[in-house]
Symmetry: C2
Subunit: 363 residues, 2 copies
């Protein structure tokens, strides 16, 4: 079948060239007579891939030397527990900023580990359609850390122009759905984590970028497998790592570099978002975008149609026309356009033309 326009929220679109290259060497990896899937994680062929993935990510994001990049398993949801297990001592409390379903889930899981406190919440009438103001975020100066979610995949709310100011309190960020959509200043954070399956790879790998001094200070009264220090000490090879996922990440990193780096990726992402929001605003009586303008996500663009019947019809007809993944998350309904790095500007243009036609045909 012709390649579809893939607006899935994650797992999501990957660059076609990355997929084609992986396909080509899928059975015989680089002339070794084995698939990458069959290579030992301790062998030199896989090891080169592993090192390249880390080095390319470090280069693209200009990750400083005093930060370590880890490739872990279990998804961001596992980090919701592992972060407080490592960083929250029994005599301290951790601050959480809740701006949508994912930060709420992180907050809820942290309660199963230790003492937590809400530093801000935008759950106004359960809506989550805005960011907190800077003043609304009340940081406990003795908190073990402050956690926030830079992009809420379900609610389409993103911190893109500023991040919470926490003074000497370590800043921890779930960047799962907006990691590497552009360059950012890694030094603003103490720990960043992201599931790979949005912008950089397939499901099954979680990236953690953390200040080495923070890793070293982590609790040692937890199981060894959950200590960041364990994985840091073994360069993410303490146990068998998810080799194929890391290989795809390596190839996506190379694709970003070959595309002109994160500045070029950011240009495309901003263009896709501007085209889409401009379209929605110009058709605001039909397509209702609920998120406050300064909080609108570049990655996940959510909106409603005049009725749920309209929405169902749109999703169905869009799919038939080759636009997939437009259904909003089951917890909120509506329509969601996830336009991650591998979604082209052209795919978005074609989708907007489709939406325009749909509106005219379905008043």
């Amino acid at each position: 079948m012709a390649r579809v326009h893939n607006f899935n929220a994650g797992p999501a679109a990957l660059p076609l060239s990355v997929l084609e290259a992986a396909q080509k060497e899928f059975v015989d990896f680089q002339g070794t007579g084995m698939s990458l899937l069959e290579h030992s994680h301790r062998g030199k062929d896989y090891d080169a891939v592993h090192q390249q993935a880390i080095a390319l990510m470090r280069e693209l994001l200009a990750v400083p030397d005093d930060y370590q990049i880890l490739f872990l398993q279990g998804g961001a949801s596992q980090q919701f527990a592992v972060i407080p297990m490592n960083l929250l001592p029994a005599d301290k409390s951790a601050d959480y900023v809740v701006t949508g379903a994912w930060s709420q889930k992180a907050f809820g899981e942290a309660k199963n580990v230790g003492k937590v406190r809400l530093a801000a919440s935008t759950e106004d009438n359960k809506a989550f359609t805005r960011l907190p103001t800077r003043d609304e975020i009340k940081v406990d100066p003795s908190a073990a850390y402050l956690h926030f979610t830079s992009n809420e995949t379900i609610h389409g709310v993103e911190f893109k122009d500023w991040y919470p100011e926490t003074g000497s309190v370590p800043l921890v960020c779930d960047m799962s759905s907006d990691f590497m959509w552009r360059k950012f200043d890694v030094k603003r954070f103490d720990l960043i984590y992201a599931g790979a399956q949005k912008n950089i790879g397939p499901a099954g790998v979680t990236v953690v970028i953390a200040r080495k001094s923070l890793i070293e200070k982590g609790r040692t009264d937890i199981p060894k497998i959950f200590r960041y220090s364990t994985h840091a000490g073994e360069n993410s090879m303490y146990n068998t790592c998810p080799t194929f996922g890391i290989y795809i990440i390596r190839n996506v990193m190379q694709w970003i570099k070959d595309s002109g780096g994160l500045d070029q990726i950011e240009t495309w992402n901003r263009e896709k978002a501007k085209l889409t929001y401009d379209f929605l605003d110009a058709h605001a009586s039909y397509f209702r975008a609920p998120v406050a303008k300064d909080a609108r996500s570049v990655m996940n663009i959510v909106f409603r149609l005049p009725s749920e019947q309209h929405e169902e019809k749109l999703i169905k007809e869009a799919k038939a026309a080759g636009f997939v993944g437009l259904k909003g998350h089951r917890s909120v309904g509506g329509i969601r356009i996830s336009a991650y790095n591998a979604v082209s500007v052209d795919s978005v243009k074609q989708l907007l033309a489709f939406l325009d036609k749909f509106e005219k045909a379905n008043p």
Copy 2:
């Protein structure tokens, strides 16, 4: 390059037909216009794969209805912690049988979670070359569970003719490196776990098969992500599952079925092991197999040569001749032949002919 004979200990050989089929549909999965990597884990296309993987494993192993099959992340090493987190209450102790490096690691990690006790150890002069006798295993009748490792991948020691008797104490088994090499009676166990990257798939998926009543009794004062009940309640879709790994497992399950089921797989595995051990025994003055005969692993066959120089030369020349993965684990040295399900009888025959020639050429 021509396909090599792959004796890697894991990640390991996969059936060529499975790899070729995955390659063919790698960019366009079943005519959907997307790679399987790009499909939503909540979509119907992936969901069918997920259900088939579970159903085929259930069918091949005749898993009873009161057991649940889970696909998790983090490897067996994560289960070393997650098992006591779920099953070991503060007022109880857990029993461990230590027969090699992996059960020792499981025992060590469990100490970071709760109270544990050694029920038996075969660490005789650090050698781990035998199984305990039935009488050596001293089960604490009030233990929360007894844990053992059915096959020690590094030391080549396997429980194949009997399992520990624990009465009413739940029996927990790490089957990572001998899972599905044959049929076995699932009801003998309360919880079985296995990293996929030996007999059934790539790295990044861990299978857990557990009695539903045990899952339900699991501790709820641990993070939600680590409760078996969380994953059981969502059929391993609580959070984004490692979709591609599960897809490969589905295909390997289908390959086992198409090959004649686990009885046929067992016949091949026993033939490979018999050929190899018969060869080693017939050349015992040159190839020294240290493991007691009744403990010899069908999957991981370990032996030494007259000197380390001989071993290095063998590994190098074998690789040049197309036999890879023969180096023993760095912690024990020597030679290891891992002959998992996807390693053919013919590959083993060719390797033994090579070993025979090597012996003659290098007295």
